[in-house]
């Protein structure tokens, strides 16, 4: 894989003074969050706290009432961000290879098929490039979605609970694969699963309260993907769960 973007250092992602109201309720206000360059920042919180909206703002899919999102190197973010949603979002009419290269087609560019095939190899789907999404299992579909994200080859990756629909074993395998293949990029990961955050994140934040506030950063020692039975991980996971529970009662 020749990754032009990765050779140039990826920028950090800075969200400054974000405010958002939904149906008269303030979801968050004056929210600042920085996803450090080349590292994975995990954001946790209960459902409905505004995590998904925050990520949509970072992806340019939603507009905050106040505040803005910028890259730490001062250059525009356009074309440097890729987004993975809660579902695999494969287009059911397109075969696996077409789904991986769909970004090229949507931008009116030529698809780089050899690179797409290499990426399918990397996610363990060698020989399945001609399959339709409906012929694949949930785990395989999520692998295609990961290959599609890698094909976009952007330095900043936003992930919105990308593995939440998978069973525990498939999820653990996907976490390892994603951490390995996306290493070195600036990642902002949203999850409600403390174990997932601890396995993949360099620094973890909890978003809680009404309006929602960010807690202090939790730093997990070691490099992702961490083993699920790692001592430091288990300790941080406990700490994280407590912070989440405190957030619920606050």
């Amino acid at each position: 894989m020749s990754d032009s973007h990765q050779q140039a250092a990826p920028p950090g992602l800075e969200m400054i003074g974000l405010a958002l109201r939904y149906e008269g309720q303030t979801l968050f206000e004056g929210l600042n969050l920085t996803a450090e360059a080349g590292r994975c920042t995990a954001l946790l919180g209960a459902s409905g706290v505004g995590k998904t909206t925050l990520l949509r703002i970072a992806a340019g899919l939603a507009v905050p009432e106040t505040g803005h999102v910028r890259a730490s190197d001062g250059l525009p973010l356009t074309g440097r961000v890729t987004w993975m949603g809660q579902q695999d979002l494969l287009y059911p009419w397109a075969r696996v290879l077409e789904n991986v290269t769909i970004g090229s087609r949507l931008r009116g560019q030529r698809a780089d098929k050899p690179r797409a095939l290499k990426l399918l190899d990397a996610v363990g789907l060698h020989g399945r490039e001609g399959a339709l999404p409906k012929e694949l299992s949930g785990g395989m579909r999520q692998r295609v979605a990961l290959a599609r994200t890698l094909y976009e080859d952007r330095p900043v990756v936003l992930m919105d609970e990308p593995f939440s629909a998978l069973d525990a074993i498939t999820r653990a395998a996907m976490q390892e694969l994603a951490a390995r293949l996306l290493a070195g990029r600036t990642m902002l990961l949203i999850t409600h699963d403390p174990l997932e955050a601890c396995r993949l994140g360099h620094s973890l934040y909890v978003l809680a309260g009404k309006p929602a506030r960010l807690g202090p950063a939790l730093i997990v020692p070691g490099t992702p993907p961490r083993a699920p039975d790692d001592d430091a991980l288990l300790h941080t996971q406990g700490e994280l769960l407590r912070a989440l529970l405190d957030g619920q009662t606050a």
Partner: protein, 250 residues
Amino acid sequence: MKHLQNALRPAGTVFGLLVLWWGLARFSGIPAFLLPGPGAVARVLVTQSGFLFQNMLVTLVEIGLGLGFGTLFGALLALVMVFSRGLQRWLLPLLLLSQAVPVFALAPLLVLWLGFGLASKVLLTVLVIFFPVTAAFYDGLRRTEPGWLDLAQTMGASRLSMLLHVRLMAALPAFGAGLRIAASIAPIGAILGEWAGASEGLGYIMLNANARMQTDVMFAALVLLAVLTVLLWVAVDMLLKKLLHWAPDH
């Protein structure tokens, strides 16, 4: 075995109806000039097969052309309405108005304007079928899975590219549903046109036979029309199944 069963079931239904028909004609005391038996109708179908087939072909061409143009027109209308909000505001009332006037009321007028030939029948068929096609396709185009559009947006797709590569494809199953309805009601337009004024076609034969109390000929034309409609529906259904093989519920 399953195929055989699937083929035998409708055949059984048809046979049952034939027996019922035969019994009613034979034992109810209804005179033959009001209700001819299946035997008399079958005799007409055989002895006048050339004449009947020729007229069936005329009606088939009217229906086919009407279905083709109507589908094209209906689909284009839906696309235009989705792509331009301004045009949609003008077209939607016009569309509803076109359905407020019964096609039955328009038939004599169209025959007067376009003559006894093919054109008036094709136009009537178009008028009958374009609305279900437009309504179904337009609905499908507006109800694209939001995640699919979000993904395309983060990949830098233009509005046109999103319409062509995502919304259009996603709306095809809905379009197919509209087309199935269109195929089953298309004969209404052609027959209506033939009733209002024609020199050939199954509708013309029925009207003529009716005036001469040739009820058996009328029934023969009716049987052919029913066969034609069923065959048309089956052909459209098979084509759609082939085109939409990727859809998860196929």
